[in-house]
């Protein structure tokens, strides 16, 4: 009996221990505030820069402890959402700018309008990145840094063909034709069935004079026709529908593609791995010049019990010298005008193309239903690029899906 009861208690207490272990780890020690911080950064440079900011802050504020957690970018949305049911969430979090409004609408992020107003630095930011942090007229965050899309081109191939990088759509079509050879595609985008595919298509949509709110228009059809033209004539591989942006960059770096649409963050990769002689120019103009913004924003959970302290950390991290170090290691552009004037972003000719584009770059701030809009666009592109549906039909189907989801302005 004895032995049996003992075994029983052991089992039960182990079980109880296992249960309590799950819920341990929250709570504040006496007088000391512990802030949790989530981000999705993986490279050594960015992680070191983040940790430096944290330790500097902790040194200056001995009563505050910051616990940084890495969350993979594919998990972070789900973790935030699921945590919010139990009113749990990190005090400070980095959110992809395209998701920011959705999370603001879901009530997961704290309204920090008054803090931002008191801080008074909102005017220093470019409209594009700033707009992604605003929902329903309220501030739900502060941009960390931005990136945007431009045209990378293979200099040697252009020299060989005796042409210059394209400045408009007609030249783009012409150049793609001239540059396409056996084993080399003239042009490449990513049209993969994720947000990346939409991200790459939006610049063309904007260049054609269309936009999400008036999707059902000639401009949209023109942009889709441009993709169709490239694929139909084999100037662009049909494999682009399974190629992520990083895959396109790999193809470009290996000399299999003469021109590609890609972002600021590929520069370090190409400098290190690229076997080709490459340059960057702004995306060619359609009716107008345009590009799209990516990047991350700082936000505070609605569930945070230390909003004041959390915003103080954000303010601290945004002081120009600190932010500069962070963005440099991260392959991001500053979202603030004052910082973008820094020589680091102005001197390098490739970086400068991206820096100049910040003036016009548009954020994906299309309201909380953006994910549904994006999905409709991805499907549309895939229908056209596989030749399953005519461009007219595909645009019409997508427009019908997007209409109830798009913000009405």
């Amino acid at each position: 009996m004895r032995g049996k009861m003992k075994a029983l208690f052991l089992t039960l207490s182990l079980f109880a221990l296992a249960l309590t272990a799950c819920s341990a780890g929250s709570g504040t020690d006496s007088g000391k505030v512990t802030l949790t911080w989530w981000d999705t950064m993986t490279t050594d440079g960015s992680v070191t820069a983040i940790n430096n900011i944290i330790s500097e802050y902790e040194k200056a504020h001995p009563n505050v402890k910051i616990k940084r957690t890495y969350v993979s970018s594919s998990d972070i949305k789900n973790k935030l959402l699921l945590g919010s049911i139990g009113n749990q969430g990190p005090d400070i979090v980095w959110i992809d700018s395209a998701d920011h409004q959705t999370f603001a609408a879901a009530g997961i992020l704290a309204d920090i309008s008054s803090e931002v107003k008191a801080w008074g630095q909102g005017d220093l930011y470019y409209d594009g990145p700033w707009s992604s942090t605003v929902y329903d007229g309220k501030n739900y965050g502060v941009p960390v840094g931005s990136n945007n899309l431009a045209l990378f081109y293979n200099k040697d191939m252009f020299d060989q063909a005796g042409i210059k990088p394209p400045a408009n759509w007609n030249e783009l079509k012409e150049d793609a034709k001239l540059l396409t050879q056996k084993n080399v595609y003239g042009f490449a985008v990513s049209a993969v069935k994720t947000e990346e595919g939409t991200f790459q298509f939006l610049p063309f949509l904007l260049q054609a004079g269309s936009d999400i709110p008036d999707f059902d228009s000639q401009g949209t059809l023109d942009a889709v026709n441009l993709y169709d033209y490239m694929a139909k004539n084999n100037y662009m591989s049909r494999e682009v529908i399974t190629q992520k942006q990083s895959d396109t960059a790999t193809q470009f770096a290996a000399g299999k593609v003469a021109m590609m649409v890609n972002g600021t963050w590929q520069i370090p990769f190409l400098q290190k791995e690229g076997k080709v002689n490459w340059g960057v120019v702004p995306l060619p103009e359609g009716k107008t010049g345009a590009t799209v913004l990516g990047g991350e924003n700082w936000a505070i959970s609605a569930a945070s019990k230390h909003k004041e302290a959390a915003f103080d950390v954000i303010r601290f991290a945004n002081e120009p010298d600190r932010l500069k170090k962070l963005l440099q290691t991260n392959g991001r552009l500053p979202s603030r005008k004052d910082l973008l004037r820094d020589a680091f972003w102005q001197k390098d000719p490739q970086m400068k193309v991206f820096a100049d584009a910040m003036e016009v770059a548009k954020a994906r701030a299309y309201g909380p239903d953006y994910a549904g809009i994006s999905e409709a666009i991805q499907t549309m592109l895939q229908q056209v690029l596989t030749g399953q549906t005519s461009p007219e039909q595909a645009v019409q189907t997508a427009a019908d899906k997007i209409k109830p989801l798009a913000p009405n302005n």
Binding site: L12, K77, V192, K193, E239, K256
Partner: protein, 308 residues
């Protein structure tokens, strides 16, 4: 220590006996709690979710009862039927080939020949590789621009133009099925092989004496005796294959368009890309219902087996 031996050793008072009965239940308690917390609760939660209308807007707040609205929405969505059809095709084709090739290999490895152990272990490698790796390698091999599959087929003169296996509607799903078959063969082989090795040698000897050939032996001894193993293997196979997510998600993400979309990916996209949580839950419940029916059929069949 069994309960019988314990009660036999100390059957003194009735109080003690009652205590033992009580203790028995306490021992099961952790398991019951575990099942409640980690299995029953999520299923019930999902069921409730599927009868509400939860999207990203009201995720945090009050969830009102919405009846069958999400199910109606799901049944009205043409993508659902594409995904359902693809799931069935994916499962049936995967199982037919995994099983038949696995069985053939099991029969082969059931004989003794030099190097058998080594080859058997090598076969298992395919199954032990993480799916992420297998799927990425297949994606790479099947690429239309630089994939080795096109190269081989072109060198052999079977095709003349390179084919974008994963980027064309007609071949995307088939390509994922081929990859899944490749992964599943070793598992089928090992389970069937262990079944074959448990068969009594005498039966075959007796059959041989009676003049039965290899085919007759297989039909009248191997197959009937292997029935329980085959049943459980196919049942596990159906359940595992019906819910395959990672292989397809990595290779095609359900695309192009929806040509390789299956129910698990469809449910995932609804819940975690479009944040239509209730509709996503309804798709999971439909999958759950389909698998439950299959499980019940299996249980019926296996209990008949035992009774016989």
């Amino acid at each position: 220590m069994s309960d019988q031996s314990y009660s036999a050793a100390a059957p003194r008072t009735s109080k003690r006996l009652r205590n033992t009965a009580w203790t028995r239940y306490l021992f099961v308690l952790p398991v019951i709690l575990f099942l409640l917390v980690f299995i029953i609760f999520p299923i019930v939660y999902n069921l409730i979710l599927s009868f509400q209308n939860v999207t990203v807007y009201n995720f945090k707040g009050h969830h009102a009862f919405a009846g069958l609205a999400s199910y109606v929405k799901t049944f009205k969505d043409p993508v659902f039927y594409t995904a359902l059809g693809n799931s069935v095709l994916f499962t049936v084709l995967s199982l037919v080939f995994q099983f038949s090739i696995g069985f053939a290999l099991a029969l082969f490895f059931n004989r003794s020949f030099p190097g058998r152990g080594l080859m058997r272990s090598l076969m298992l490698l395919a199954w032990m590789l993480p799916v992420v790796i297998t799927a990425s390698v297949f994606q790479w091999m099947l690429n239309g621009d630089y994939g080795v599959v096109n190269y081989i087929l072109q060198s052999l003169g079977i095709i003349h133009e390179p084919h974008s296996w994963l980027s064309e509607n007609g071949t995307a799903l088939l390509s994922t099925i081929v990859a899944n078959i490749w992964v599943g063969i070793p598992f089928n082989m090992i389970i069937l092989l262990s079944g074959l090795q448990g068969l009594p040698e005498q039966l075959y000897e007796a059959a041989k004496l009676d003049g039965a050939g290899k085919m007759l032996q297989f039909r009248h001894i191997t197959l009937p005796l292997m029935r329980p193993t085959i049943l459980i293997l196919l049942m596990l196979g159906i359940i595992n294959t019906f819910k395959v997510f990672d292989m397809i998600f990595i290779m095609t993400a359900g695309g192009p368009v929806n040509s390789s979309n299956v129910l698990p990916i469809y449910a995932y996209q609804l819940s975690f890309t479009k944040f239509q949580f209730s509709q996503g839950a309804s798709v999971s419940m439909i999958m759950f219902a389909i698998l439950t029916v299959l499980a019940v059929i299996y249980l019926r069949m296996s209990s008949k087996e035992e009774a016989a």
